[in-house]
Symmetry: C2
Subunit: 293 residues, 2 copies
């Protein structure tokens, strides 16, 4: 990775709860950047934690989140989105006063309110969504440069501590990420359209294709495969995302169905000009989205 | 390409109408396999035809499809799907009696009936759909191995001549393609779900994302980009496909909207089990589609 090593680590003792793809990569990146920082891997499975230690992603391991010493000054919860509040709560006794807590969850609205309540006045929660996923999962796919040049959305609320916000932004930035900042609600509304509805659309295309029976398999080409690759994502992870971002996702899916329905009507009417415009506007927008901002 | 060269070319004088990605690649592949076969590039633009000749895709060029000598024993029409009948008609005077005519069009139902009427009793039309497209277009992207290991759907009707069918199947097979055979109607019904509806869904995802304004651009990740890459395809090509396969496409789009609507209802109801099943079944089917048949 190209991120510059620093002699002045921003945190002394970092806890990473969950050592899968994101947690493992985070440990590797932190140890690469700030070798003096101690990283403790937290989780339920001693075997998985030991693997993370063996590959250098963490220095220490703990299956007792409430009994880590010395106290942590940063906790990053890297578990499935609906487990984050529970794992944060469990680790609370191990956090130094004023410690910073963040996460890597794909939804932010509900989560932020709950985590801010857990933080109370003693520690400071700032939600993060490093958009560095992969359709691969697990520690085996972890890499120190997973975050490089990717976007991290940091989602302060009106209750957030400005200094904690600044330190969380700097942390992701040090890992090579392009940090953008928005409210938790704005994050959920936008990612429903950029990520969650596309996932459901890909799964729906698979269902619609499957209903044609096995005869369709030979005519599944690379276009279909590209368009539906995201449907291979873990159903457990995506169940959490769907349930957690239910409202914004339903709104995005309604909008998608409206667009499809309007197109179908034009096609049925034989309105060639409208069909062409639909295709051409989508193409132009999609090509613009490829241009780095 | 690994296809084996043969000393016994199945055709002596092949006409390729349209020298874009598919026509150009076809010329290169034919000349590689059967150097003695004469290939004539047919089209409107002398400049484009000359380029095809310069890169070795064709031996001769003609802008007068009805006046090619000696007579062609194979014509492959590689122009946009709604131009195919007209280009076939124009070339009819240059075809030997009993000559074989095929095409590379992405829709087959309408086209087959029209082309069979044009063929009359004098020449033999057998529709083909070599699934070897790319989101790139034009001669510059042409390559002799474009067809290798890809699927070619050959679509005889009840009126088709069995010997002509066999020769068309062998032709694509010699180019390294996996040939499958089905009726034109079955082809259109299946590709509506495997290719055309996915294209419209990708375009619809772009429209739904675009409606959120520019704020969405930073949270467009690799998942969205993969899922919508096909929306970059040429609107001209896709307008033809949509209009030509209108009925089957509308049916596939209805089915897709039904699947999306049913999912949204489950999500609104908070039916976690149904949401999970939807995700898991799609994942399983999609992973199965990756396994070579």
């Amino acid at each position: 990775m190209t991120a510059v090593k620093s002699d002045d680590p921003p945190f002394q003792h970092i806890g990473i709860f969950g050592v899968g793809l994101l947690g493992g990569s985070l440990g590797l990146a932190v140890k690469h950047l700030w070798p003096q920082t101690r990283v403790v891997g937290i989780g339920r499975s001693p075997e998985r934690l030991s693997e993370a230690a063996a590959c250098g992603a963490v220095d220490e391991i703990s299956t007792m989140p409430g009994a880590i010493e010395p106290a942590l000054d940063l906790l990053i919860v890297c578990t499935p989105v609906r487990m984050i509040p529970e794992h944060f709560s469990q680790t609370l006794p191990s956090l130094a006063s004023g410690a910073i807590v963040t996460d890597v969850g794909s939804t932010k609205g509900e989560l932020t309110s709950v985590c801010e309540r857990i933080a109370g006045g003693r520690v400071r929660f700032i939600g993060s969504h490093p958009m560095a996923g992969s359709h691969k999962t697990g520690l085996a796919a972890a890499s120190a440069d997973l975050f490089e040049d990717r976007v991290c959305v940091v989602t302060p609320s009106s209750a957030s501590d400005p200094e904690a916000l600044k330190r969380v932004q700097s942390f992701w930035n040090a890992l090579g990420m392009r940090v953008i900042t928005m409210t938790p609600g704005e994050h959920d509304r936008l990612t429903a359209r950029s990520s969650h509805a596309p996932h459901i659309a890909a799964a729906a295309l698979c269902h619609a294709a499957a209903s044609a029976g096995d005869a369709i398999l030979p005519v599944i080409g690379s276009g279909f495969k590209d368009a539906t690759r995201i449907a291979c994502g873990s159903p457990d992870v995506w169940l959490d995302i769907c349930m957690d971002n239910r409202e914004a996702l339903c709104e995005a899916l309604s909008s998608l169905q409206d667009v499809l329905g309007a197109f179908q009507q034009r096609l049925q009417d034989g309105d060639e000009r409208a069909v062409y415009e639909f295709l051409e506007q989508a193409r132009r927008w999609r090509e613009g989205a490829d241009t780095p901002s």
